[in-house]
């Protein structure tokens, strides 16, 4: 089970188009992904959608690596109905970097990006409605960041709104 290079017509077209903006094409356990520079991601998603039929944005999510200088992995999972093929677009961003929104390419990104913001505090530039989605508006903190332990919660919010000491 090792990560092997991924080569196909998709990678060929993307290499020609984006050159050094895409740093890696790989396959792990039969699943293809590419790693791109954050500025190029939206253009890549657009090219994938319009020219390579990756027309279904399955999911947008993030992974937190607090020790890395580029702290977050931002992951877009794509699927193509015409090709019956799945792939992932990954990019690494630093804390405070504002990636461009994918809503301009896929409407599905709207709520998914709001959830990423809610859970990780990554703000998307140009998003039509960048608010929390699952947690209350006044909640302090972003729970899926690694520095928050599972027992930690916004005590003051809980006390004020639920009238109880911390539930934990």
């Amino acid at each position: 089970m090792v990560t092997t290079p991924w080569e196909s017509d998709i990678t060929q077209l993307l290499k020609e188009r984006f050159g050094p903006d895409i740093t890696q094409f790989s396959t792990y356990l039969g699943q293809n992904f590419l790693v791109a520079k954050p500025d190029a991601v939206i253009a890549i998603l657009e090219a994938l959608k319009l020219e390579l039929d990756f027309d279904y944005l399955v999911d947008v999510t993030a992974v937190d690596y607090p020790k890395r200088p580029e702290r977050f992995d931002l992951v877009y999972i794509l699927y193509s109905f015409a090709r019956n093929e799945r792939m992932r677009v990954k990019t690494m961003i630093a804390d405070g970097y504002r990636p461009a929104t994918a809503v301009t390419v896929h409407l599905a990104a709207n709520w998914l990006e709001r959830e990423v913001f809610d859970m990780f505090g990554i703000e998307f530039e140009g998003h039509p409605d960048m608010r929390r989605i699952l947690l209350p508006e006044e909640w302090v903190g972003h729970p899926l960041r690694k520095e928050l332990s599972i027992l930690q919660q916004d005590d003051s919010w809980v006390k004020e709104n639920l009238g109880i000491e911390s539930g934990q």
């Binding site: 699943q31 999510t61 992974v63 999972i77 799945r86 992932r88 409407l107 599905a108 989605i133």
Partner: protein, 370 residues
């Protein structure tokens, strides 16, 4: 000049939910109305948020398995199947053939149970009181099979990573076959009650249309996508757990309206029965558990594995750092993504249609909020 009275107001903003019975749990929809017409909506969700993904990062792989049942609690078996397949993929193992066949039987039974609950509550929302009693009566038989198999009815935790915990009980096959024979006439019975019913057709035809392109744009999957005419089902497109061995059709609709979604789900129940019949006849003998160590430590890497849950594509994205706990566990819930299309579907419709459309989306708030 007197202030404008309430009656002068042309636009009215009202809350529907979170305690409204037809929002199927704790969904709050803020409606902007012009008379009876819906000008726009906003969904307020998160009332049931429990931080499932954070819990996942703090439990071992096996410990987390029961938690996934609590997301889509009317289709707990499907959730468990998706999770087990994702971890198995990460470990690069496969469940034995016997386990796979039993998994298919239970998952399809669960699809029937989920669709029955949908049909009953959806009809109840529309104003047809009878079907809910019939549907829950049939669902009870499915839950009895689950209870006999693993001791639980709803949050089953039926599967384990690498296979099954329990061997099937004596008479499992006969009971499942008996259920299938008994169930098909019941579907016909529901159809007699509803399919050509004038009120039912009047309330559903042409309501909440979502075209195929819109579905793809919003990432909407499952029966909603199929009702729009897209013949796409993950069980066929990317088969898992041995689905490629079974013959079944993917029902589709034409208009993508609420009525088509109803017919698609009705046919899916018949097709599920067909799969169950084939699977239960062919359960091979052999072990039910693959070789999985007591402590699971997948190698460093990440996978995305998804299945066709009753509501749509249910995916798990797991990142492993070679420890006993997932480094990151993301659930891609079908209900959450499908619910996003609600605004598009209700705009310009009537208030009464909102109820029909929430019902036809078949959302479970436990899964939307996680």
């Amino acid at each position: 000049m007197p202030d404008a009275t309430f009656l002068d107001a042309t636009e009215l903003v009202i809350n529907m939910g979170p305690q409204h019975p037809s929002t199927h749990g704790v969904l709050r929809v803020i409606l902007k109305l012009d008379g009876e017409k819906v000008m726009g909506t906003e969904c307020v969700i998160g009332y049931l948020h429990r931080g499932v993904e954070k819990i996942g990062e703090n439990r071992t792989y096996q410990q987390f398995a029961p938690y996934v049942d609590r997301m889509d609690y009317v289709a707990a078996v499907s959730n468990g199947l998706g999770y087990c397949l994702a971890v198995e993929k990460l470990l690069n193992i496969e469940a034995p053939a016997r386990a796979q066949a039993v998994r298919v039987v239970l998952t399809e039974l669960n699809r029937i149970a989920s669709h029955l609950l949908w049909l009953g509550t959806h009809a109840l929302d529309i104003g047809a009181i009878t079907p809910v009693f019939y549907c829950l009566r049939e669902r009870e038989e499915v839950l009895k099979i689950f209870e006999n198999y693993c001791g639980a009815r709803l949050t089953t935790h039926a599967f384990r990573i690498g296979g099954l915990q329990y061997e099937t009980y004596d008479g499992f096959e006969e009971e499942v076959k008996k259920f299938c024979d008994w169930f098909i006439p019941k579907v016909d019975e529901y159809e007699r009650l509803l399919t050509n019913n004038r009120i039912w057709v009047g309330r559903l035809k042409g309501v909440g249309i979502l075209t195929a392109d819109e579905c793809k744009e919003y990432g909407v999957t499952g029966p909603v996508l199929r009702a729009a005419g897209v013949k796409w089902d993950l069980r066929k497109a990317q088969p898992y757990s041995g689905y490629e061995q079974y013959e079944f059709e993917i029902p589709t609709g034409e208009n993508g309206d609420t009525y088509d979604r109803y017919t698609v789900r009705m046919e899916e129940m018949r097709q599920a029965t067909r799969i169950i019949r084939q699977a239960v006849d062919r359960i091979p003998s052999g072990p039910i558990m693959g070789k999985v160590p007591k402590v699971v430590k997948p190698p460093v890497g990440e996978v995305y594995v998804s299945i066709e849950a009753p509501k749509g594509e249910l995916g798990y994205f797991i990142v492993s750092d070679n420890s006993t706990q997932p480094y990151r566990l993301r659930v891609r819930p079908p209900s959450f993504v499908n619910l996003q299309a609600l605004d598009r579907m209700v705009r310009g419709g009537l208030v009464a249609d909102v109820v029909a459309i929430i019902g036809t989306l078949d959302i479970v708030l436990g899964e939307v909020d996680r």
